[in-house]
Assembly symmetry: D2
Homo-oligomer: 281 residues x 4
């Protein structure tokens, strides 16, 4: 496995797409040194986007949390989250009525819009079920799993409505040793019981890359050849970036350990253009 | 779809295997008239077994609950449950240490044996995790889903031990309108996160039929041609019975509604030998 | 199930996306009357695109075949095929070497480009295998299944390269009674053997809709609200259109029979905005 | 990873179950030294069975091929094949009419019986399709894949009959470098197209172990504790043996390479009781 020098790789691209968790931050806070990377990008006037499978908060709240962690210049409009795709879907396709959600209040707040009222799954009952026009899974926290996963199952059995997983990940690390079950795995379970498929938003699906690409195109013409996608997960960041036609870089600060990188690339057949230790200059 | 007369069908067999839920009982209690069926079987001296995907209680407790419901003569040794298969596996293959379980205390009690100590997943910590030699999912109740499903995931990530789903069903009906997520679906979710497979016990796997068949053979020689399996679910009762080489009867008092029976048989290709309205003479 | 009048529905949209097979044509030729639909669209100056999971031919050859069938005005640049997405991927991500393919010579011809040489899987041997930088499945015809599917399996076991299914469909109708196994199902089989995932291009993935949408945007600004996607298949056309944020119309001239439409919508939870008998004014 | 001494392990058991391919033989012939193992077993008067996922030939022909390879004493009644389970199913459950098959003439010959006529899928046509009462996949050779896999798909779409995969393996090695697609993977592909499930016979399902166990019990009482299952594949031999309640031994002469054994055990959670280099004393 050939490790490339991060600085000399990014010098070859005009625009950088970053995954968030495992690349810029971890459960311990900022990956040490990534602030220097952003300082360099700003010095060079290079554009960047953060492309994240996260539906737990609005881009504004995501930006605030980067600021608190020490990345002071990341603006909300440079963050593309899978939650934003779910929100666009709801705006375009579910025009009125109630959107039932599983997640925290924070996660529900930002998908509200003029015509749509959000309601936690826990509050669904016989009197309002007929008004529920979509189910959306936003976060694995903020609800009682036993009560509300069962309620979600029965909602989907009784109502012919779209079911949305606003984050397709099956798990996320909570510390050095342990992971937590994420929204994607909960959606798989409900699919097994109900026999209907969730609509999933987020990497590796290419739609999330298109959101960032369109924002770029709105400013100036840019070729996919000039964009680099940096991520720590082969099955989401690298596969998605590859499929969208971008060059990709695997970093070893998150889901893919240095000792496993080569064997996972071979066993999955998902090949990044570059491998670097960290997204750090 | 040709409906047969229940009485004239069972007259053609020496031994009857019954599924429990959806055939003999429902959320409302006994299926009206099944007591007459058992009275007839006993009058005729025909043997029967109840073959159930249930790991929540011992055969003794299952028999008691039949007695309370009004089937007074069903003996524990005529009940074969998927939990008994899980117990045999633990006895033969996991000789010592701790068996961590998800379920109620009742469900754990009967899988205890001389060498094996059971412990709820909630009590696993760094001090005892190294002694845990198996994980077994017995019931969807009796534990905190959020805390303990996450603990089960991390147990399986840290320890190379067998994981057992003692009931493969994905859901069960709780009333006329709603179902509840069952142990089988929870196991699917954990598999998605961890990437390891659970060992599943219960129909449609044929092992559970073999338990009953061996008990029969211990008394006298009996041909599979003389045994009828009666169930309400194509994918478990009928597929399993068919695969084991038994004639099978679908009854329409449980999971398969009269209006759906024909289309489900065609769409799954799982064909019962007979279809009757109910297991009632 | 409410059937809408086709003419009054399309009057509400500026741009129409059509699936091809099952909407415009069938194994018997043109769906009777669709020529009138295109005459109307041209009279009204409305734009349309044909969005098809087809990788067997170039857009030019696809257009010719529409002309031969009687749709004389369909231009190649109004056809978006999953094969074009696969071609873009190869151009951007596989810059040199050999692309091994399964399909006809016609299907391979149009994915050739300056740097890339295509070669049928049948011609791979020990002398050239190290130069093969991608495998692409284009068509279910044009090769010996036994010999070449086995060769493709071993190619993917020996080389860490992207594997592409340029059409995700599992089957297609060949006449009133029978279907044929398609590229998508062959890819599933190879995945089972090799344990690696194919990159799939085509509906329901939204990338193919983005290709058409970008062409539209290059001419003028258009909102997704003004585009209607018309298809005969819930799991590809309608799900993909819905996910991309378009209004969708199910027509009953192809994969979805009038008698099945309602039950399939309920059982899948994939709900079209409109249902019409045919895409015919 | 602790390697045990083969001789001292088998001394602890009364009965040995062997997988065939990868344990006793390979594409190169007999595994060197296994003849000494069988000589020892016979000297000690220990019983053994060969338990193989093979439906391509009768036990008699399988025994002959062992004789030709140099294991002169293996008798047909000591071989249990997945094909025998399929044959029993056909005898018990499909009493008359035609069994359509995919495989060689040899594979079809031994599943014929008094009431059942076998016919290659290639010969199915409109005149006889209504008499076909089962489809059975016996071997990956002996038929035209393109023509006959498509015919099998349409047979299952038109007729509500059981579909049987008489060997669940997805692939088998043909030489040091290459594998061949096996019946199990072909069945997966057909399932994807048709939406119906095949009935699979063979390891890891425990039914095949029960066949051998019943033959043992017919002679004398034997406890599962006294039987050892030896195999080269974790997902079939070891998982199946474990689930049936047997002690298991992984040998490293077939599908599991010495360098991969430990990581595969950890990643699958399928743990053999013993690991030995080869089934050779």
């Amino acid at each position: 496995m050939h490790l490339s020098d991060f600085r000399s790789v990014i010098d070859q691209y005009d625009v950088i797409f970053f995954d968030s968790y495992g690349v810029l931050r971890s459960y311990q806070g900022l990956v040490p040194g990534v602030d220097r990377t952003f300082a360099l990008l700003e010095e060079q006037g290079k554009e960047y986007y953060i492309i994240t499978n996260d539906a737990s908060r609005s881009p504004e709240l995501l930006a605030s949390s980067f600021h608190r962690a020490g990345l002071y210049n990341i603006q909300p409009d440079h963050i593309i989250s899978s939650g934003m795709l779910a929100k666009e879907f709801l705006d375009l396709k579910v025009n009125d009525g109630i959107v039932a959600y599983l997640g925290t209040e924070n996660s529900a707040h930002y998908i509200e819009s003029s015509g749509l009222h959000t309601m936690p799954v826990s509050e669904i009952d016989d009197s309002n079920m007929h008004k529920v026009n979509a189910l959306v899974m936003l976060d694995d926290e903020g609800f009682d799993w036993f009560r509300d996963l069962n309620k979600a199952v029965n909602l989907l059995r009784h109502r012919t409505i779209p079911a949305i997983a606003a984050n397709p990940d099956n798990s996320y690390p909570v510390n050095n040793h342990d992971v937590s079950i994420a929204v994607g795995a909960l959606a798989h379970m409900i699919e097994k019981v109900v026999g209907k498929k969730f609509i999933r938003f987020g990497k590796p699906d290419t739609q999330i890359f298109m959101f960032a690409y369109e924002r770029l195109q709105a400013k100036r013409s840019i070729s996919k050849k000039d964009i680099l996608m940096i991520g720590d997960t082969l099955a989401t960041d690298i596969l998605g970036g590859n499929k969208f036609g971008l060059d990709t870089m695997l970093v070893l600060t998150g889901n893919t350990q240095p000792k496993d990188a080569e064997s996972r690339i071979v066993s999955t057949g998902i090949v990044p253009t570059w491998i670097c230790e960290a997204a750090v200059v």
